[in-house]
């Protein structure tokens, strides 16, 4: 029932279904895909990353989807993308060469507690589900919790706010798990976080409006990726650094990864039809994922072709 052949990619799924489906993907592509537990969430749920690898000791690319729980098209895009990578390996020459030289890590549900909460209690939940001592409000914005200008502009000190940064950098175990994996691995060359909705392709910084040293290259890569994305359905993205094209936002994941030495750090905000906000109809998952794939692939190819 849950084989990769029968899962409906044009549907939203629960955490359990996604996790079970991961097992079937691994079973069907044993020489390519493994499912690794990165750690546990605040409420004790496992956090699984899919690792696509054809060798050992390789540089790697990181992609996470759905750090904000309610942005469901992100997690759904992650599922579709994982399947795309597994099925295209061996037939798509460019992807094959990429995976023959680099590993790819895909964290489909970066905030499992929040995701389950959106399915069971509050569809509009964004944050983690950790208890904030002294407050009736729960949760921290996991994209304000990274050690990158932590506690600076664009993050709230109020535990009831949707952009609450938390008591300390990496206080959220969901963030800490990723930080520990990236740090201990030590050879990630790209870090991509996928959000929804706003149609943006961004690079660091969010905690500062000053340009990063690699701004010209990141901007050029981002613009080319956005062009590729638009080539499928004409979906138009704005490209730039977080601070200038949205607003100052401290404690973000890609600011941390860039400052940790991962040059090719990007964040995407997926499709917005202007009618549904976070409730993009499931019929649009596959078109969204398909166009996003073109941008992701362009970035990954650039990373492969520009070792540093």
């Amino acid at each position: 029932e849950l084989s990769t052949r029968s899962i409906n990619f044009a549907a939203y799924h629960t955490l359990d279904t996604i996790y079970s489906w991961m097992d079937s993907l691994v079973a069907q592509h044993p020489g390519l895909v493994t499912k690794e537990e990165v750690g546990r969430s605040y409420e004790g749920r496992p956090m699984y990353v899919l690792k696509f690898s054809t060798g050992s000791d390789r540089p790697a690319i990181w992609i996470d989807t759905g750090i904000h729980a309610r942005e469901w098209v992100s997690q759904a895009t992650g599922v579709w993308t994982a399947n795309k990578i597994a099925t295209d390996y061996g037939s798509d020459a460019s992807l094959t060469s990429l995976l023959n030289s680099m590993d790819l890590y895909l964290l489909i549900v970066a905030n499992p507690d929040g995701y389950v909460y959106t399915h069971t209690r509050d569809r509009m939940w964004r944050k983690t589900r950790s208890v904030n001592p002294g407050s009736a409000c729960r949760g921290v914005d996991p994209n304000r919790n990274w050690d990158a200008g932590f506690g600076g502009p664009g993050a709230s000190t109020n535990p009831c706010s949707d952009s609450y940064h938390g008591p300390a950098a990496h206080s959220e175990v969901e963030v800490k798990n990723v930080v520990d994996l990236i740090t201990s691995h030590g050879n990630f060359k790209s870090f991509i976080s996928v959000h929804a909705y706003s149609q943006l392709l961004m690079y660091p910084y969010g905690y500062s409006c000053s340009h990063v040293p690699d701004q010209p290259e990141l901007d050029s890569v981002g613009r080319a990726a956005a062009q590729k994305l638009a080539s499928l359905y004409g979906t138009s993205y704005r490209v730039g650094n977080i601070c200038n094209i949205i607003y100052p936002a401290s404690g973000g994941s890609i600011d941390w990864s860039y400052d940790a030495g991962i040059k090719y750090s990007f964040a995407l905000e997926l499709r917005d039809t202007g009618r549904y906000g976070f409730l993009l109809p499931a019929s649009q998952i596959v078109p969204t994922a398909s166009e996003t794939w073109l941008a992701l692939k362009h970035i990954m190819e650039h990373v492969r072709d520009h070792p540093y």
Partner: protein, 94 residues
Amino acid sequence: QRLFVGDQVIRINAESEEQIQLLQALETQEEWELEFWRRPVSTGLPVDVRVPRGSLEPVRSYLLAHDLPFSVLISNLQELLNEEKAEMERNQKL
């Protein structure tokens, strides 16, 4: 389960820096319990706000009073949530 019956999501297209500031003032207005899905930043980006049913009238009055152009993105959030839930249930059965 939290319900959003009658809540609307309104899209506001600010046309000047002054209008952005008026919207930013709304962000600090706690009484209306607004939830900004997209915050007021610049005139180039639309602002999306979820407005609870009970706050619809004062918010509309505020927008009209300040000539802030807006449209209704989602007229009843709960209806959309119900449709999504029904679709998921159908899909699970399949």
